[in-house]
């Protein structure tokens, strides 16, 4: 009897230990990255790091501005392309589609989410880059095709599954009663959606978009393969760009050789960690609050 209780206590405590471990990983990551990037904080001021455009690691110059701009711009393009298409798709699936088509689309979206990013990158090289090149030629803007636009397109495709699936779920939780009430007053189906369903689901849809944004912000491999990787602030969507994750991925090899380089790179990892987590936490807290209602 006593043994059973002891066993329960021991196992229970080791489970709590595992929980403590899981909870501490985020902090450990933040702390570790912070400690490792500390040297560069000592050498350079934060405004200089964030706003300078001069990136010459050999000479000890680390201006992150082009990379920050590159990340923000490629993510923005992805969101502009993805959000309308995904929202319209989610609304269609939730409100107009036959339930069998809805289930089929759910499977399709799951498959899209499961495809590894390196394969999207490969597809981007085969299809999207030549497409952008042709588009550039048609618009009289010469480009190699490895550009912001190409990166934005492939990112838009990669974040679509998460925006669609979260939006769809949120829309399905709006009670049938809401639609019935609006329709009973003589609205068209679309008016009922516009004025009642979407208004009720607004917070959730916003969270879906934020989650997509966070996903796009941190995506590395696919973007790396098609965005051009030139450390200059892009002047048009046909110019190449160099987002932060790509910077980190491309240069890890040189990390140990040049002083301060590893600090700089790990600083970019730290920035990614914070920005992405901030967005994710906001979105998840909002969704949790909706669930409670």
């Amino acid at each position: 009897m006593v043994w059973r209780r002891t066993k329960d206590r021991i196992v229970g405590n080791s489970m709590l230990l595992a929980v403590a471990f899981a909870n501490s990983i985020v902090f450990a990551m933040a702390l570790g990255l912070f400690v490792k990037s500390w040297p560069i904080f000592l050498k350079k001021s934060i405004p200089h790091l964030l706003l300078s455009s001069s990136w010459h690691p050999m000479k000890g110059e680390f201006g992150f501005y082009p990379f920050i701009v590159g990340t923000v711009e490629v993510t923005a393009i992805a969101m502009i392309l993805a959000v309308p298409v995904c929202l319209l798709s989610a609304i269609y699936l939730s409100e107009y589609a036959h339930h069998r088509f809805r289930e089929f689309s759910r499977v399709v979206v799951d498959i899209m989410a499961a495809i590894p990013s390196v394969i999207y990158g490969l597809w981007g090289v085969i299809v999207v880059v030549p497409f952008v090149r042709a588009l550039g030629k048609a618009l009289e803007t010469p480009t190699t095709g490895y550009s912001l636009l190409a990166g934005g397109i492939i990112l838009a495709i990669m974040v679509s599954p998460i925006i669609i699936s979260v939006s769809l779920e949120v829309l399905r939780t709006v009670p049938v009663h809401a639609r019935e009430t609006a329709l009973a007053l003589g609205t068209t189906k679309w008016e009922a959606i516009k004025h009642v369903v979407l208004r009720s689901a607004l917070h959730g849809i916003f969270s879906a978009i934020v989650l997509g944004f966070a996903r796009a912000f941190g995506e590395t491999i696919a973007v790396l393969m098609i965005v051009g990787n030139v450390p200059k602030v892009p002047t048009s969507i046909f110019d190449p760009a160099y987002p932060l994750p790509a910077l980190l991925a491309n240069n890890y090899g040189e990390m140990m050789s040049i002083p301060l380089y590893s600090s700089a790179l790990l600083l970019s990892a730290l920035i990614l960690l914070f920005v992405v987590s901030a967005f994710n936490v906001t979105a998840h807290l909002t969704l949790m609050r909706i669930e409670k209602r």
């Binding site: 339930h99 009670p175 049938v176 009663h177 809401a178 639609r179 019935e180 009430t181 609006a182 329709l183 009973a184 007053l185 003589g186 609205t187 068209t188 008016e191 004025h195 009642v196 208004r199 009720s200």
Partner: protein, 282 residues
């Protein structure tokens, strides 16, 4: 005024028949109650009168429902106009996710009803139910007539008609979800009336409410019947006795008996009706 008549209405979900061969005329300007045990198709019957049954995926409708002589199930029928003419109150009120004022003005705005025809509508109504009769304490200068005086007057008038004005007039811009469930149901009544229906359908409108709110709704129905045709589904026999002018008794999807209230309650012809009214089956 519409003449609602059902001929051989049969509704089935997939293979299951929910309504069998219903033929009956609903009298104008009276409160008709549809009574019967739960789960017998009363709600489906009600929802067939404004084609809300269209929302169910596997529904099959045969027969006719004629309102003003026109069959509403004709493929060319205008469903939006139908739903404007026939208002609906559901069992559990759903306040639209907007302010109290916007809940009321939602319908009129959707139907693009503006200043002139709004006033017209209210004037017609006032001939039968003058606004002063709805103000127990006499009417002072109530409405702050702002940018849209017709809408503001509309909001006040219908809230008074639903018996809710005094409780909400200080907070018309507050979200409607803040109201108690009794208030929400009265709001739903005002909202349904604001689109100028001629018929009001109510599906167990008081079963989710406390006794006081229930009494308020019944009182408003008695006032409204002078101008609207009201059809109420209820499983509370006592409520039917209180408010009904005409009674339809429904059992297992079949229309068993119908007639003026005194007749059905005191001298029912069908044994099933007798059993229900005496309380043997419920």
């Amino acid at each position: 005024m519409p003449h609602i008549s059902l001929s051989n209405l049969t509704i089935s979900y997939g293979n299951q028949k929910v309504l069998q061969n219903i033929t009956v005329d609903i009298p104008n300007n009276e409160i008709t109650t549809i009574i019967g045990p739960s789960g017998c198709g009363k709600t489906t019957l009600l929802k067939s009168l404004n084609r809300l049954v269209d929302l169910y995926e596997e529904i099959h409708v045969q027969g006719e429902v004629r309102i003003d002589g026109a069959n509403i199930y004709d493929p060319k029928a205008d469903v939006l106009a139908l739903r404007k003419k026939v208002g609906f109150l559901s069992q559990k009120p759903y306040p639209l996710p907007m302010s109290i004022r916007d809940n009321i003005t939602f319908g009129p705005r959707i139907h693009e009803m503006n200043g002139k025809n709004l006033l017209c509508q209210i004037q017609k109504l006032e001939k039968h139910i003058p606004i002063d009769s709805l103000c127990p304490n006499g009417r002072q200068k109530e409405t702050k007539l702002g940018k849209n005086p017709e809408m503001a007057y509309l909001v006040e008038y219908y809230l008074r008609l639903a018996g809710l004005w005094d409780e909400v007039r200080e907070r018309l811009d507050a979200p409607a979800t803040q109201l108690s469930i009794g208030q929400q149901q009265r709001l739903a009544l005002a909202r349904a009336l604001a689109v100028e229906p001629e018929v009001v359908l109510a599906d167990e409108p008081t079963s989710a409410l406390d006794p006081i709110s229930a009494q308020l709704i019944e009182k408003q129905f008695k006032i409204l019947k002078n101008y609207y045709t009201i059809v109420v589904v209820t499983h509370i026999l006592r409520q039917a006795r209180r408010i009904a002018d005409y009674v339809i008794f429904f059992y297992l999807g079949e229309l068993v008996e119908h007639g003026p209230a005194e007749q059905v309650f005191s001298a029912p012809r069908d044994p099933r009706t007798r059993a229900y009214i005496s309380g043997e089956i419920s």
